[in-house]
Amino acid sequence: MTQVLLGLFSGIAFGFIVQRIGATDPDKMARAHLMVEPQIPQFMMLAVAFSALGLAGLQAVGVGRTVILPTSLAATGIAAVIFGIGWGLCGYCPGTCWAAAGEGRLDALFALLGGLAGTALFAHFHEGIIAAIYLPTNQGPLTLADWVGNRFAAAVLLAAVFGASAWAVGKIWGRHSGHGSEEAE
């Protein structure tokens, strides 16, 4: 029961914040993908940068639980291509479509229903698909810490790269639009 209440509370806070940055608005998401408005990608990159530092802090005091998903060259890549086509087409992702449906967007409800259908189809063929494309190219749960050697240094490095990327997105996206540039400068 505690877990359900924690999930509910976390979801409410998460949904409210992504609504407030405009990530539930498919027009704003499309303008982000079309390199006209930099805010949503910047928001995501900075959130990851701060979260990585925060999580490194949690781990330093021994709090929290982590799960590193494996990298399957074929499955993760093919999945990302399928996901990207869907995201570009409708402007929703699996989390924002719940928040957008709650906001009252009827098209998000259709994305949610389509999502249930996609989930059901994948679940039906899970065993065959995983064996055919996930497992043969599975590289295991790789992390940057494996390459950098030190977990905390890797978190700082990741945060720096994401911070720099957010700045670059502001510059590049801003250049493509009259109204973006005044905020980027």
Partner: protein, 184 residues
């Protein structure tokens, strides 16, 4: 830029609706770190599996019990389903207090395909189908793999994130056409 004053004004009005990037990103990171501390890596596409498990379980109990994908994800009485219900509630509260009227069909979509809601709903159903099929294959979505994974320094999250952004950007060019008209 003086030949497009309405666009400028519209943008200024938009800016008052939404939070600035930096405080919003800090707030979201606070929530994400809270989730890591109290639950584990945040995820939203798993909530779809939980919901389906709850919907199909009573009708096809044997099927649900024998399918690996439903075995590895808990049912609707879990953090995962509570989280997506919370997302819907948070979106509702956000919309209630934002005060910006919703469009039935997004403006960019309408400019390209007209105002028929049916076509937009069909495209959203297909888009939703693809994002969930992809997310379940990869083991996570924008949140459960890209954000959660990258926060944990996982290569899978970074790889997934780079490809979904690149493909979504290409797809949106094909769907909406070039935005050259807006650039001048």
């Amino acid at each position: 830029m003086d030949h497009m004053p309405t666009h400028q004004n519209e943008h200024r009005r938009e800016a008052t609706f939404y939070w600035p990037v930096l405080p919003a990103a800090l707030a979201l990171a606070g929530v994400i770190v809270f989730i890591f501390a109290t639950f584990g890596p945040p995820a939203s596409s798993s909530g779809f599996v939980s919901l389906l498990k709850g919907l199909l379980g009573p009708i096809f109990p044997d099927y649900i019990a024998h399918k690996e994908h439903y075995r590895i994800i808990p049912g609707p009485g879990s953090w995962l389903f509570a989280f997506v219900l919370g997302m819907a509630t948070g979106g509702y509260l956000g919309g209630l207090t934002l005060g910006k009227p919703l469009r039935k069909v997004p403006a960019l979509w309408e400019r390209r395909f007209g105002a028929r809601p049916g076509l937009r709903y069909a495209a959203c159903f297909l888009g939703g189908f693809l994002i969930l099929f992809g997310a379940r294959l990869a083991g996570g979505c924008t949140l459960g793999l890209f954000i959660s994974g990258s926060t944990q320094l996982a290569v899978s999250g970074l790889y997934f994130g780079i490809v979904i952004f690149a493909v979504a950007m290409l797809t949106s060019r094909l769907v909406y056409g070039s935005q050259k008209g807006d650039k001048k």
